[in-house]
Symmetry: C2
Subunit: 193 residues, 2 copies
Amino acid sequence: MARPQKYERDKVIGAAQTLFWEKGYQATSIIDLQSATALKPGSLYKAFGNKDGLLKAVLNNYTDTTLLYIDSLVEEQMSVKTLLEVFFKRQVDRACDKNTKGCLLVNSLLEFHGQHLHLETEVKKQLQRVQKRFETLVEQGVMSGEFDKEVDASEKATAIMTVVWGLGVMSRMNPEEAHLQAFCDTYLSSFSQ
Amino acid sequence: MARPQKYERDKVIGAAQTLFWEKGYQATSIIDLQSATALKPGSLYKAFGNKDGLLKAVLNNYTDTTLLYIDSLVEEQMSVKTLLEVFFKRQVDRACDKNTKGCLLVNSLLEFHGQHLHLETEVKKQLQRVQKRFETLVEQGVMSGEFDKEVDASEKATAIMTVVWGLGVMSRMNPEEAHLQAFCDTYLSSFSQ
DNA sequence: AAAGTTATTGAATGAACACTCAATAAAATA
DNA sequence: TATTTTATTGAGTGTTCATTCAATAACTTT
C-alpha cells in the first residue's frame, strides 16, 4: 500500500555504532552518519527521531550484544568463576588490541557527564543491565554452592564492573597485556572470600 | 613600561578547571569560559593561544594537585601500603560523593578517544605522571623491604591505576560506598604476593 | 491505469561555535 | 606631559552543526 523501506534498520544501527564508537557522540556529525549509512538526513530523522534517538538504538544494540556473549558462555556450562576468567581475559585482550576503541558504554557515560542528562541516564540504564546480569550469575554461584553463602552478589557485581571499567579506561593507555592479566588474576584469586 | 595584567593566571585556570570538569571540554564554550573567568575572548586567546591551550594548562594544574596530595602523604612517613589504603579510601569517598565529577583526566581521556589526538596525547602524558609516581612508590617499598623483591613495580602501578580508574567510572553510577571499599580492601589484601 | 500511501531527497534554516582584530585603555618611562 | 608599550574590549567573521520540509519517487490497491 505504500513505498517500502530501502534500508535495513539493523545495518544502519551497526554503521552508526561504528562511528559513535570510533569518534564519540559529539564528534560524530549527521553528515558523517549520512555517509556511513547512505541515508539522507530526512530518512535518519524519520527512522530515529533525532541524533539522540539513533544513539539510544545503538547503545541498546551494543548492550544486547554484550549480554548475548555472556549467555553464550553460560550455555557452555562452565563454573561462574571460570566464566569470569574467560570474560576478563577477553577484556584484557581487547584492552591491549592496538585498534581498541574501549567500551562504548564507558566512553559514552563519561562523555555525557553533567551535560546531556537524558543520554547519561540512558547509558546508566544499559550499564545496569550488564551489572545486573553479573549479579544474577554470582547469585547462581552462591545457590549452586560454588561460592560461600556470605558472598554478597550485589557487592561482587559492583566489583566486577569496577574491574571491567578500569580495564576499559586502561585500554586507552597502551598497557602491557601481562600486567593487566596479572591484575585480573590477583583479583579473581581472592574472589570468593 | 606597559599596562599590567588585571587577572591572575592561576585563578583563570582554576575557574576553567571547574567548568571543564563539570561539563567536559566540548560542551564548554568560550562564552561559558568568558563568564566564569571574567575575561573577554581576546584576553583568553592572548593568554592561552586557544581553547586547547587553556585545557592543557588546566590538565597540568590538575595533575600537579594530585601529585602534591601524594607528596603530602609521603611526608607523613606512612608505609606504602598504608598510603595506598589512604589514597584508595579518598577515591572511594569521592566516587560516592553525590556531587562528584569523577576524575578530570579519565573524563578527558575518554572524551578525546579517537578524535582530538593532540589533546588525547596530552591527557595520556598527565596520566603517565601519576602512574610513574605510584611506580616509584612501589619501588621504594621493595627497596625498604616492605614488599617482596619479586614485586614488579611497573605491573603494580598499572594495577593501581586500573583500580583508581575503575572507581572513577563507577563514581558516575551512584555506587554503594561499602561495596567499593570492600573491593579496594580485597585488592589490597593480596597486594604484595 | 489511477488513486492512495508512505519513503526518500537534499537544499534551506537558524543557531551556536571558535576565533580575530581594530579600537581603546592603562600603565611605565622619558 | 608626551610617548611607548602592552592589556583589554566586544562586535564581527566564517564555519559547522542538527534539524526541517516541500517536492518527488516507489510501491500497493482498486
